[in-house]
């Protein structure tokens, strides 16, 4: 990316933070908290997610057969099914059905994807969005900023101003009630006039041809009931085998999305249906003394859209995207999305974490490339997805493809000289951060000179221009003596025959070259609990390149780490990891990078350092060998990936056991996210996200507490934004 492109991107993000950030943040916060609360009340939440996942896996596997079945079922009831290859094909068919008649629509992201409104209006039809948020956007001529609540970026005041200006009501509209009532009445007239009702479908069951629509306002019901022609538009992936298969989705979708146990209406339409209609709209606008008309002549068209989906089905990495039920949990649980919204964190149609998969699949990689870097791989969405899609992985894979597709400034001959397995066209910024290990090794070798040089204005200015490293960020200072070197000199202090356990402390690149003090503290704490500690020279885990979409480099790093640690594991020893993002590699991402048995070995025998201490204490180690808290007041920020692995409670428990008084944050991410906060195009967003954490640590209860955080990034972000200097929790236990 050129320096100008970075500047433009930064400006656009800054503008959206200013204009839309507050509304998006407020609304996504409500959805996010609602989801945690609502899913916690579900006794069989995990089982339901497994069930939902299994149904989708099976349905996508058998999709061609299910499409045949649903076609048979719908046609047997007198309806039509059209399988559209792409948007143009779908629009051509729908235009023929509509034939210039007026259309009322309920919300459908798939209809946004094919831009059917434009096509129909070009054909002379009136098209009205009846979902209130979509109506606001239609009036404002804006695009959705969220897949479930599309006008989430607009405040009540902005909507009132818009309506008052466009519709000039006798009395200016002000409250949400007034705005709702006005829109209901305005759209009520459009519904009476309409001849065609268009809906999406959240699910379509192949056995009966039943559409399931998850709604709250009642407009989808009205669009179908009032008109005698119903056109339903859905992606082919919405087809599931049986009516009974709806059950787990019905219990999960509202909870996962807006945090409602159920939305107001779940409609099961098995068209054509026989509810009376309002007929062809003749006489509308008069007193409307017309009687309801028989629903016996209802017409139904199901338009199932491929538009890239069948190819996604054949793509091992994108296939999971097709399991998506568009609930928006990945957007609502994403710190970056919460702050900037879907106008930045989205492509042509879709927004949020899973949008990378959708956009790459239906619109192409260029659309995904616009926003893909906003996924930092923090993994907070992973446990929130009701169909358990590995959303960070999809983002990583697509990033890798974008990297490989990029036309580079580098000659291919240069490729052989790069320190990694990546293509010449890779953005130098990504290459820099992806090879952090090399950088840190060099920085350490030449420290302190390297630190002095790197801090000079000319160096920072050059780095910002050529590499997009924001000059406002303090760079890490490398230690001359690495943790591994320190330990080699010092040696192990617990004899093998006196040891309770033997553990290898994994020297991640940060602990090894930058924050060696936390590594030394960890060694002493473990030794105090009678653990024989080794510090093997294992390289970077692959987290750094993986976060830049450099999958091949990540894989080769993972292989080297496994080679370095396999003797430890083979000897039955434990692996202890300080940096949560590296532990998450061992536990989660290595599944994609290493053979199954190697991943399993590391997954089973690796522990986060405080988790390990927790386990030692639970198994009889003497807690009094650790420093006592004596009531010291602590504000603790766990790490995003650590929380996804369920490991926050261990740290809190150990600290409390040692007498610390612990308050915790509950923001999804600190905003730094490895390299993200260093990138000049994302600096403002990173700080904006970080401010939410700062807010939680500057309340009456927390402002005087010592700040503790588990992740390197979190420590850097907190260090930059607070005057208190934060530390890793293991240092609190270090009796030295």
């Amino acid at each position: 990316m050129s320096v100008d492109d970075r500047r433009r991107k930064a400006e656009r993000i800054r503008r959206l933070l200013d204009t839309e950030g507050d509304s998006v943040h407020e609304n996504t916060r409500v959805f996010n908290e609602g989801r945690y609360e609502s899913t916690a009340a579900l006794e069989d939440y995990e089982e339901l997610k497994d069930e939902a996942r299994a149904i989708k896996e099976d349905a996508i596997e058998r999709l061609p057969e299910l499409l045949d079945r649903v076609t048979e079922a719908v046609e047997a009831d007198g309806g039509s099914v059209y399988l559209a290859d792409d948007a143009d094909d779908a629009n051509r068919y729908i235009e023929e059905v509509v034939d210039g008649r007026s259309v009322v629509k309920s919300k459908s992201m798939t209809s946004e994807e094919i831009e059917v409104n434009d096509a129909l209006e070009a054909g002379g039809a009136d098209v009205w969005e009846t979902d209130l948020a979509e109506f606001v956007l239609q009036v404002a001529d804006e695009a959705p900023s969220h897949i479930v609540a599309p006008a989430i970026h607009k405040s009540r005041e902005e909507i009132a101003d818009l309506f008052n200006e466009v519709f000039e009501p006798d009395e200016p509209l002000e409250t949400a009630e007034e705005l709702t009532r006005f829109a209901r009445e305005y759209l009520g007239e459009r519904i009476l006039d309409a001849e065609v009702g268009m809906t999406g479908a959240n699910f379509v069951t192949a056995d009966t041809g039943t559409l399931a629509l998850v709604t709250s306002e009642g407009n989808a019901r009205k669009c179908v009931q009032a008109t005698d022609t119903h056109v339903a538009v859905a992606g082919v992936e919405k087809v599931i085998p049986n009516v009974e298969d709806l059950r787990p989705f019905v219990e999960l979708i509202g909870r996962s999305g807006t945090g409602q146990d159920l939305t107001s209406y779940l409609s099961l339409f098995t068209p054509p249906g026989d509810s009376p209609t309002f007929g062809d709209g003749a006489g509308a606008g008069s007193d409307d003394e017309r009687p309801l008309e028989s629903g016996d002549d209802r017409e139904f068209h199901l338009v199932l859209i491929d538009n890239g989906r069948m190819a996604m089905r054949e793509d091992d990495d994108l296939r999971e995207t097709l399991y998506c039920i568009r609930c928006s949990a990945c957007a609502n649980s994403c710190a970056n999305f919460q702050h900037v919204g879907g106008h930045a964190f989205g492509g042509e149609t879709y927004s949020g974490g899973i949008a990378t998969g959708w956009e790459a699949g239906v619109h192409g990689e260029e659309s995904a490339a616009e926003f893909n870097d906003l996924c930092t791989g923090c993994s907070r969405c992973v446990n929130q997805c009701p169909v358990k899609i590995d959303i960070p992985w999809i983002n990583t894979v697509v990033r890798d493809r974008i990297n490989r597709g990029a036309e580079g400034d580098f000659d291919f001959l240069v490729e052989g000289l790069t320190p990694d397995a990546e293509p010449g066209g890779l953005d130098p910024q990504k290459r820099l951060f992806g090879n952090f290990d090399t950088l840190a090794r060099l920085g350490s070798t030449f420290a302190p000179l390297s630190n002095w040089v790197a801090r000079t204005d000319p160096a920072r200015s050059l780095m910002e221009r050529t590499l997009g490293v924001d000059a406002r960020r303090e760079l890490p200072a490398f230690e001359r003596e690495s943790l591994v070197e320190w330990f080699e000199d010092r040696g192990a202090r617990v004899a093998p025959d006196e040891a309770r356990r033997t553990a290898a402390l994994y020297p991640d690149a940060y602990t090894n070259y930058v924050r060696t003090e936390r590594g030394k503290a960890a060694v002493r704490v473990l030794e105090a609990l009678d653990v024989r500690v080794e510090v093997p020279a294992a390289g970077e885990s692959g987290r750094a390149p993986l976060s830049q979409g450099m999958v091949a480099t990540a894989r080769s790093n993972a292989e080297a780490v496994y080679e370095a640690l396999s003797p430890v594991v083979a000897a039955g020893h434990d692996v202890v990891v300080i940096e949560p993002s590296d532990l998450a590699m061992f536990r989660r991402e290595y599944d994609r990078l290493l053979p199954e048995d190697e991943h399993a070995a590391l997954r089973e025998d690796s522990y986060e350092v405080m988790e390990y201490v927790h386990g030692l204490l639970a198994n009889g180690a003497d807690a009094d060998a650790l420093a006592a808290g004596d009531g010291e007041r602590i504000a603790y920020h766990s790490h995003c990936q650590q929380r996804t692995l369920g490991l926050e409670p261990h740290t809190v428990s150990v600290l409390e056991e040692r007498g610390f008084d612990v308050a915790t944050s509950d923001v999804e991410c600190c905003g730094m996210a490895g390299s993200f906060g260093y990138k000049s195009e994302y600096y403002d967003l990173s700080v904006d996200v970080g401010e939410s954490l700062v807010d939680q640590f500057t309340t009456d209860d927390t402002a005087d507490r010592a700040v503790v955080a588990s992740g390197t990034s979190c420590l850097e972000q907190l260090d930059a934004l607070l005057s208190r200097r934060p530390a890793h929790p293991v240092r609190l236990l270090d009796a030295r």
């Binding site: 019901r221 009931q225 709806l246 779940l266 098995t270 509810s275």
Partner: protein
């Protein structure tokens, strides 16, 4: 039926702000009459010995629907865990009657109260396969948060009352 689903249903509808009125077939009319805000529209009720009061219009015009303060329909079944009622739309107009009035009154037989979503989908699947063209699991009033704050009563009713026939 055991009392447990009923107790669960009572607490679920209370959480939704839905009023639950318990009555019997014999008391139905006198229970309903004072609760009917005029004008009222309705669809014939399938419960033995239960009929709508005469003031309820069962053959409404479009204008009647638009003007209705109350819409009375039967509910096919209720879901105790969620406080939901299932409206089965048919030629009598259950769909528009339950949708257009300010308040929807759903009449539910106690024997049709199901404990949970599993039982509901067993019934729904059976109904769909035997030709029911339309069923809506309705949970509380229609609602929207699209105008900057939560508003009850979007395109559909703003209030819901469930009348439970304890002897049906």
């Amino acid at each position: 039926m055991s009392t447990e689903p009923l107790a669960t249903f009572e607490s679920s509808v209370a959480d939704l702000g839905v009023e639950l009125v318990r009555t019997t077939a014999g008391e139905f009319e006198s229970t309903l009459a004072p609760r009917l805000d005029a004008p009222a529209v309705g669809t014939p009720l399938p419960f033995e010995g239960v009929a709508l009061p005469a003031a309820v219009e069962t053959d409404p015009t479009v204008a009647d629907l638009e003007a209705a303060a109350t819409g009375v329909t039967a509910a096919g079944y209720g879901i105790a865990d969620y406080g939901s009622v299932v409206i089965q739309g048919g030629p009598d107009g259950e769909e528009p009657v339950s949708l257009y009035a300010d308040e929807h009154v759903a009449v539910l037989a106690a024997s049709d109260l199901l404990p949970d979503m599993d039982a509901t989908f067993d019934r729904l699947a059976e109904d769909v396969r035997s030709g029911a063209g339309q069923a809506v699991i309705a949970t509380g009033p229609s609602a929207t948060a699209d105008m900057g704050a939560l508003v009850k009563g979007a395109h559909g009713p703003m209030d819901v009352t469930v009348v439970l026939l304890e002897d049906r």
